[in-house]
């Protein structure tokens, strides 16, 4: 990094002093200037540094495959995406799955279902199941982050798809690793949870399937998702861990598992940024700074 001539020589000192992300923006811009975008570098960067909000969407789009790495074909692909979205939406409207009063998240859900060929018949539409709920919560969070419905839909779809394809396997193992890290960080809490029997009932689906959508506020959530999108699901563990650690006193005070679940599902929104920061630090601490090659 220091060898990179384009980078400011002071950047290392910034980090030492505590200013983070001063030079990230510039380096990100340099990265984004490459014509075939280097996805690995982008993802590495995203894992190591917090993304500037102005480039966040673009980076996400690229990393999630919504836009190809070649910037030349961005417009064309964007056109495709748009057409596809409209086609689907039109079809849904024609088939009366959705109408103008249908909330966006549900529209997104139907569209996703259609694309996934799991759309039930109109007559058979029922209340969304857990998987649909996950999607809906994610889409709700995403909708908060992005204004454009097309981009929003596509990002949701890509995020969900990528999440499932990438981390579908590792998600079930996450509670275990959480337990492991918790034992390292705060064995007392673990013991307490184990004792109270709340450990098994912890809101894992909220944490790991919905990626904290609906749990953390969007500003904090973005930073978590940065890491997720860039290819790390471990961060979810550390966020959860940090949540537990942050509110261990409260949790220690709660003996009933339902109370624990309830509390964890509705954690106060104040300290989320700090929690996320700490979580990232913890993640860095345990998993190390991801180098170039992942």
């Amino acid at each position: 990094m220091a060898d990179d001539p384009q980078r400011n020589f002071r950047s290392s000192y910034y980090e030492k002093v505590g200013f983070r992300g001063v030079e990230e923006k510039k380096s990100l811009e340099i990265l984004l200037k490459d014509n075939p975008l280097d996805l690995e570098k982008l993802s590495t960067f995203s894992q190591r540094f917090p993304l500037p909000s102005m480039y966040r969407m673009h980076v996400w789009k690229v990393l999630l495959g919504m836009l190809p790495p070649h910037s030349d074909s961005h417009t064309m692909v964007g056109g495709y995406r748009k057409e596809q979205y409209h086609d689907i939406l039109e079809a849904l409207e024609v088939m009366r799955y959705v109408n103008s009063s249908t909330p966006c998240t549900h529209v997104y859900l139907r569209m996703f279902q259609l694309e996934s060929q799991v759309l039930p018949r109109c007559s058979e539409i029922s209340a969304p199941d857990e998987e649909n709920e996950d999607f809906l919560s994610i889409s709700r969070a995403m909708e908060e982050i992005i204004d454009d419905p097309i981009d929003c839909y596509w990002l949701i779809k890509c995020f969900v798809n990528q999440f499932h394809t990438k981390f579908g396997d590792s998600i079930p193992h996450l509670p275990k690793s959480l337990e492991h890290y918790l034992s390292q960080e705060e064995p007392r809490l673990l013991k307490h949870l184990k004792n109270t029997g709340a450990l098994a009932q912890l809101p894992y689906s909220l944490w790991f399937r919905r990626c904290f959508a609906g749990c953390l506020p969007e500003s904090s959530l973005q930073r978590v998702w940065d890491k997720v999108i860039s290819g790390s699901c471990k961060i979810l563990v550390f966020v959860a861990l940090e949540i537990l650690l942050s509110y261990k006193i409260m949790l220690l005070g709660i003996t009933r598992p339902e109370g624990v679940v309830r509390f964890l599902c509705n954690i106060p929104q104040e300290n989320t940024d700090a929690i996320v920061t700490k979580a990232i630090e913890l993640w860095h601490k345990y998993c190390g700074t991801p180098m170039h090659a992942v």
């Binding site: 014509n35 075939p36 190809p68 790495p69 070649h70 030349d72 074909s73 064309m76 692909v77 495709y80 995406r81 057409e83 596809q84 086609d87 689907i88 079809a91 024609v94 088939m95 259609l114 694309e115 996934s116 060929q117 799991v118 759309l119 039930p120 018949r121 109109c122 007559s123 058979e124 029922s126 969304p128 199941d129 857990e130 998987e131 649909n132 499932h164 394809t165 579908g168």
Partner: protein, 1279 residues
């Protein structure tokens, strides 16, 4: 004509008619006749008539005869001249004609008349005729000056004859005639001398050089010569030049007359023009000469009498001068004839009056009246004549005579003036006059009386008085003024009358003079008229002249009195015939007279003074003191008197009448002139008085002898004649007068009468001549006046010019000043300019110097530059030479190096050869050593072999060399090719990279489009399901009863009737899935790019099958899994299927691109496929698990995506299961197809991926076949 002629001739007597109208008619008739007729008849008749009757009218007509008749007239006259009897009237007529100056008068020289005239003059003995003829000749001479050439000597002869006649008196004519003749000759002398001086003098010289003529010369000619100055022509001219006609051409008649007058010194005769007559000079000689003259010539008396005869009373004031001058000779030489003279004079005066009356009437009616008088007067006594003239003659005549008389009769005036004045004016004025004037007079007289001159003066008055009244003189001498008054009682009334008339006359004159100013012609006529009017007019004329004369004399009072004395002496002699005042005792008498009256001194002197004063006063101001008194009665006269008084020169006399004109015409010039003259006059008068006084004393005696001019003598004669006439008239009764005449004349009364008559005629002639002269003068004066006017005008102009000149000079001065100022300014500017110029010049010089310096420096530098350039050129040349040398040497060096290398190589070769030689030498030695051992044959063989070996070795070496070189070349070539190769490889790598890039891009895009396609497919699938559902609903609803055929799909169909709504969709969904799985199946089969057309076809077929019945479809579906199974294991057989494509062109397809492709699609295809395979198995296995809890979990759901499928199947499955328990049995069959479907699903996916790969593969091989053959190779090599 002939008839008329006598008629006209008859008319002639009628000319004498008294009827004026008739006279006019007749005269007009005659004139008309003369103008129309050319013949000489009438003229001759006229001449005859005139000669007979001496008619004035006829004379008038004749004298104004016109051109064509001149010849006749002159011929007639000539004819008449031949007759002795009518010679005199002829001459008279001729004289009239000539004096008329007709235009043809110059012709007279050509006519015989002149000759006859001359002849007459030469031969005739009648004095009267002679005198008349001479006067005519004198008049004629200036008119025909050029004619004198041939007649000159005749003139001279005439002169000589008449002069000698005068002296010798051959015909013993009376003295009176002689006087007349003398005067005529005197005039002729002047004329001849003036006109032809040289000839005349030469004549005189020649004629009087003769002894017999000497006496005549002494007596007659010499005194005449004394009266002329030397003629300028005598100095400058010659005899011939005088006679040159050209000389006379420039002269007019009056010019000639004046020319003649100029040379005269006689004041009577002379002209005062152009400085000839400077008075004092002129005067003195006269004064001095006169005594002699007078003594010598008795005619002076006559002459003087002529002047005074016309104005008897008036002559008295004139007397003071003439008498003294004339008397002495008169008395001296002619004491005896005195009485007859006077008587004669009396007669003559009477005659004169009558003659004048007879001759004058030509012009005026008064003269007509006078015409009658002469005959009557002839017979009458002078007294009666006078009385007649006083009483009888009508106004004008009387008045003129009276007018003249009063002033003229100053002698009576001595006594009479007081009464006359008192009559005319208040008495107070007279006494005042007398008193006022007298005292100074008296004083002066008193002062003067002390002197002899003054004493003598008194008698003058006496003589004056005696001239008027003879008795008066004694009374005057003895008694006082009263005496005179009483004595002249007879005259008183007459004089009163006269005075009255005179004043009138004077007024008239004043008016006339005024008129004269304007009209000179009129004046001339008037004067002429007056001339003819009356003899008194003439007297007025002469009076004026005489007055002037008197004034001159009065101015010269000393002289006057001096002469007076003589006169006084003489007059008493004359008047009283007293013995005491006889001839020689004049001076003594003068002295005695003075002493005589010394007793009666005071009274006498007073009276005389008074008389003098009065006379003076009446004479128009004798002295300035009296002068103002005179003004009132006679203003015009006074004016004249004033001028006359102050003009001392005779010339003034002539100019007197004109000076008044000056005064008015040229006021300024005249006043100036007058002022000048007066001052001059005053001075002169003063001087002369002094001189005269002295002279009077000294020359007292001599003055008596002083000569008088003939004219003066004549004057005096006339005057004396009148005096005596008066005296005689007084004394004698009328009848005795004739006796007196006889007594005086001493001849018979008849003779006496004749003499008197002729004398009268002569006087008339003389008068006419004088009048003519005067006219000439008038003409001239007019011209002179014109000249003066012009001169004054020019003077004015001059003055104006002078003023202008002054103004201009002032201008010039101012301009000069300004010029000076300008010049100064200019000079200043010039100086400034000069300084500036000099400064600039210096600057220019400096600059020029600087420039020159620069030039020189520049030149130096240029020369230096040239030198440097030369040097540079030289150096360059040297450099070139050196370069040449260097090049040459380099070339040489190269050559040398080549040579050196050659030599080195040769050296190496040499060393090599040396080595060889050495080796050979050694070998030779060895061989030589061996030679003895071996045989001779061996040696030869060996040698030969050696040689051959050597050669072989050589050749081998050569070949080795060649090989080595080839090797090197090959190596080099190899290197080159390697580098080329590497370059190409690099290029290929780049291209590969680019290709990769493009491929990635395309792949990404393809992926996107694929996803689109997928989405579309999902949509269509969904739509299809919807469609199917709708169809099934329609079918189930429409043929509800006959649904037996509809459920062929399987055993489940019969159940559909129970719950078709549930089952049909279910089934349909399965079929749909089946149908949807088809196209993928077909697409790999075709391995072509026509994927989309297949799909509809597939859908169509599926639809049709679905439509017709799913029974057929089901088996196919069921059957198909077997062929689709191999699809499921697509990965394994894929390479073989691809093999034909990849074999030739893609030997190491798996090596690079394949790897990449796998990497790229690992997640999606391989891993998925692997997973799916695993999943499918695991799902089939796990299906049991999920079905444990939820029976209704649909099997296809897990077939979808494993993780989702788990959750998914968990949720929807229970609902239908719960809702339709009847369908449970049907679940089994669908589960199978679902399994199949799921199994199909993976192959489809694989097919999709495979299709994608196939696509890529199909695109790739082409590309590779086209260009990437080497690339793969190189890549392979590199890797």
């Amino acid at each position: 004509m002939a008839r008329e002629q006598p008629n006209v001739g008859d008319l002639l007597p009628l000319l004498e008619t008294s009827d004026l109208q008739q006279l006019d008619e007749i005269r007009g008739l005659i004139n008309e006749q003369l103008s129309t007729e050319r013949g000489s008849m009438l003229l001759n008749a006229l001449v005859d008539y005139f000669l007979e009757t001496n008619s004035a009218q006829a004379m008038h007509i004749l004298s104004s005869v016109r051109e064509p008749h001149d010849k006749h007239l002159l011929d007639k006259l000539n004819e008449c001249m031949t007759r002795q009897a009518c010679r005199l009237p002829t001459l008279t007529l001729l004289g009239h004609v000539i004096r008329k100056q007709p235009s043809w008068i110059h012709k007279i020289a050509r006519y015989p008349l002149l000759l006859s005239l001359l002849k007459c003059l030469k031969t005739d003995t009648d004095v009267v005729v002679l005198i008349t003829g001479v006067l005519v000749l004198i008049t004629l001479l200036p008119m025909i000056p050029q004619a004198g050439k041939q007649h000159l000597w005749v003139y001279f002869d005439i002169f000589g004859r008449l002069a000698s006649w005068n002296f010798k008196n051959p015909g013993h004519v009376s003295e009176v005639y002689l006087i007349h003749l003398h005067a005529s000759v005197y005039s002729l002398f002047h004329r001849l001398y003036g006109m032809y001086p040289c000839n005349f003098v030469s004549y005189l010289r020649s004629h009087y050089s003769m002894k017999e003529n000497m006496e005549t010369f002494e007596e007659v000619v010499k005194p005449m010569l004394e009266h002329v100055r030397i003629h300028p022509e005598l100095v400058t001219g010659t005899k011939d030049h005088e006679l040159d006609p050209a000389r006379w051409k420039k002269y007019e008649i009056h010019d000639i007359v004046i020319e003649c007058a100029k040379v005269s010194l006689d004041p009577k005769e002379a002209s005062c023009e152009e400085g000839y007559a400077n008075m004092p000079a002129n005067f003195y000689p006269q004064v001095h000469l006169r005594p002699q003259d007078c003594t010598s010539s008795p005619y002076t008396d006559l002459h003087s009498s002529f002047g005074s005869s016309s104005s008897t009373p008036f002559s008295t004031p004139r007397q003071p001068l003439p008498p003294p001058l004339s008397l002495p000779p008169f008395s001296g030489t002619q004491s005896s004839p005195r009485s007859p003279q006077t008587s004669r004079w009396q007669n003559s005066s009477g005659e004169l009056n009558s003659s004048c009356g007879g001759k004058d009437p030509l012009w005026s009616p008064s003269s007509l009246c006078g015409m009658a008088t002469p005959p009557s007067s002839r017979g009458m006594s002078p007294n009666s004549e006078l009385s007649h003239s006083a009483s009888h003659l009508p106004g004008r005549f009387q008045c003129t005579s009276g007018g003249k008389g009063t002033p003229a009769s100053s002698t009576p005036a001595t006594s009479s003036p007081p009464p006359t004045l008192s009559d005319d004016f208040p008495i107070i004025s007279l006494p005042a006059n007398t008193v006022q004037s007298s005292p100074p007079r008296k004083d002066r007289r008193h002062g003067e009386s002390g002197k002899p001159a003054l004493v003598r003066q008194e008698p003058v008055k006496d003589t004056e008085k005696s001239a008027e009244v003879a008795t008066n003189r004694e009374a005057e001498a003895a008694e006082n003024v009263s005496m005179t008054l009483t004595e002249l009682s007879v005259f008183m009334k007459k004089q009163e009358l006269e005075l009255q008339l005179r004043t009138e006359k004077e007024r008239e004159e004043a008016a006339i003079t005024e008129e004269l100013l304007n009209i000179t012609e009129e004046k001339q006529e008037l004067s002429g008229l007056r001339d003819f009017d009356s003899p008194f007019y003439l007297t007025t004329e002469t009076l004026t002249g005489c007055q002037a004369q008197d004034k001159t004399f009065s101015d010269i009072q000393p002289g006057g009195p001096a002469s007076d004395t003589q006169h006084v002496v003489s007059t008493p002699d004359k008047g009283e015939t007293t013995a005491s005042t006889s001839g020689g005792s004049e001076r003594g008498g003068g002295g005695a007279g003075g002493s005589e009256r010394g007793g009666g001194g005071a009274g006498d002197s007073r009276s005389s003074a008074l008389g003098l004063e009065q006379s003076c006063s009446f004479q128009s101001g004798f002295t300035p003191i009296d002068h103002h008194l005179h003004r009132s009665p006679s203003a015009p006269d006074e004016d004249l008197a004033k001028f006359g008084m102050f003009s001392p020169s005779p010339c003034d006399k002539a100019s007197v009448p004109y000076e008044s004109f000056f005064d008015r015409a040229l006021p300024r010039a005249a006043s100036l002139f007058v002022g000048q003259k007066t001052t001059e006059a005053v001075h002169k008068a003063a001087l002369e008085r002094m001189l005269q006084r002295e002279e009077g004393l000294e020359d007292g005696e001599e003055e008596g002898v002083a000569t008088a001019s003939p004219l003066e003598v004549l004057d005096r004669l006339v005057q004396q004649g009148s005096d005596t006439h008066d005296k005689v008239l007084k004394r004698l009764p009328l009848p005795s007068k004739s006796a007196d005449w006889t007594h005086f004349g001493g001849s018979a009364p008849l003779d006496e009468l004749h003499t008197l008559r002729s004398q009268l005629l002569l006087l008339h002639n003389q008068l006419l001549y004088e009048r003519y002269k005067r006219e000439q003068h008038a003409v001239r004066n007019r011209r002179l006046l014109r000249r003066i006017i012009n001169a004054t005008a020019l003077e004015e102009q001059n003055n104006a010019m002078k003023d202008q000149l002054n103004l201009q000079s002032v201008d010039i001065v101012s301009l000069r000043e300004s010029l000076q100022v300008e010049q100064q300014r200019y000079r200043q500017l010039w100086d400034d300019r000069e300084t500036v110029v000099t400064r600039l010049h210096t600057q220019i010089r400096q600059l020029q110097q600087g420039r020159d310096d620069y030039y020189t420096k520049n030149q130096e530098l240029q020369s230096k530059l040239q030198e440097c350039q030369k040097r540079i050129d030289e150096l360059e040349a040297e450099l070139q030479r050196a370069n040449n040398k260097v090049c040459h040497t380099g070339h040489l060096l190269n050559q040398m190096t080549i040579k050196l290398s050659n030599s080195e190589s040769t050296q190496q070769q040499m060393s090599f050869l040396n080595k060889q030689l050495l080796l050979l030498g050694e070998a030779h030695k060895l061989s030589m050593q061996e030679l003895p051992h071996a045989g001779a044959d061996n040696t030869k063989e060996a040698q030969m072999l050696k040689l051959s070996y050597g050669k072989e070795v050589e050749t081998l070496r050569q070949s080795l060399l060649v090989q080595g070189q080839k090797m090197e070349a090959a190596q080099q070539r190899v290197c080159e090719l390697e580098t080329h190769h590497s370059k190409k490889e690099h290029l290929i790598a780049e291209q590969k990279k680019f290709l990769e890039d493009v491929k990635c891009q395309a792949k990404a895009e393809l992926q996107d489009s694929d996803s689109r396609y997928q989405a579309q497919r999902r949509i269509t699938q969904l739509l299809q399901t919807e469609l199917l559902q709708l169809y099934s609903r329609v079918e189930t609803e429409a043929p509800a009863g006959t649904a037996t055929s509809s459920p062929p799909g399987g055993g489940a169909d019969p159940h559909a009737s129970a719950d078709s709504s549930v089952t049909i969709p279910d089934r349909q969904r399965h079929t749909n899935e089946e149908v949807g799985s088809r196209p993928p199946r077909g697409s790999p089969r075709g391995h072509s790019s026509t994927l989309s057309p297949r799909q509809p076809k597939a859908s169509n077929s599926s639809r049709t099958t679905a439509y017709c019945g799913s029974q057929d479809q089901a088996p196919t579906l069921l059957v198909e899994p077997s062929p689709s199974c191999p699809y499921a294991n697509l990965l394994a057989p894929l390479p073989p299927s691809d093999a034909p494509l990849t074999v030739g062109s893609y030997p190491s397809a798996k090596s690079f691109l394949g790897m990449r492709a796998r990497e790229l699609f690992r997640n999606k295809s391989e891993s998925q496929c692997d997973e799916e395979e695993q999943q499918s198995s695991s799902r089939l296995a796990g299906l049991a698990h999920s079905l444990k809890t939820e029976l209704c979990v649909e099997p296809p759901c897990p077939g979808y995506v494993a993780p989702v499928g788990l959750a998914h199947s968990a949720a929807p499955a229970p609902a239908p299961a719960l809702a339709t328990p009847l369908t449970v049995p049907t679940k089994e069959p669908p589960s199978q197809p679902k399994q199949r479907a799921s199994s199909q699903e993976s192959p489809r996916r694989k097919a999709g991926s495979g299709g994608g790969r196939g696509q890529v593969g199909s695109g790739r091989p082409r590309q590779q076949q086209l260009k990437i053959m080497d690339y793969n190779e190189t890549h392979h090599e590199h890797s």
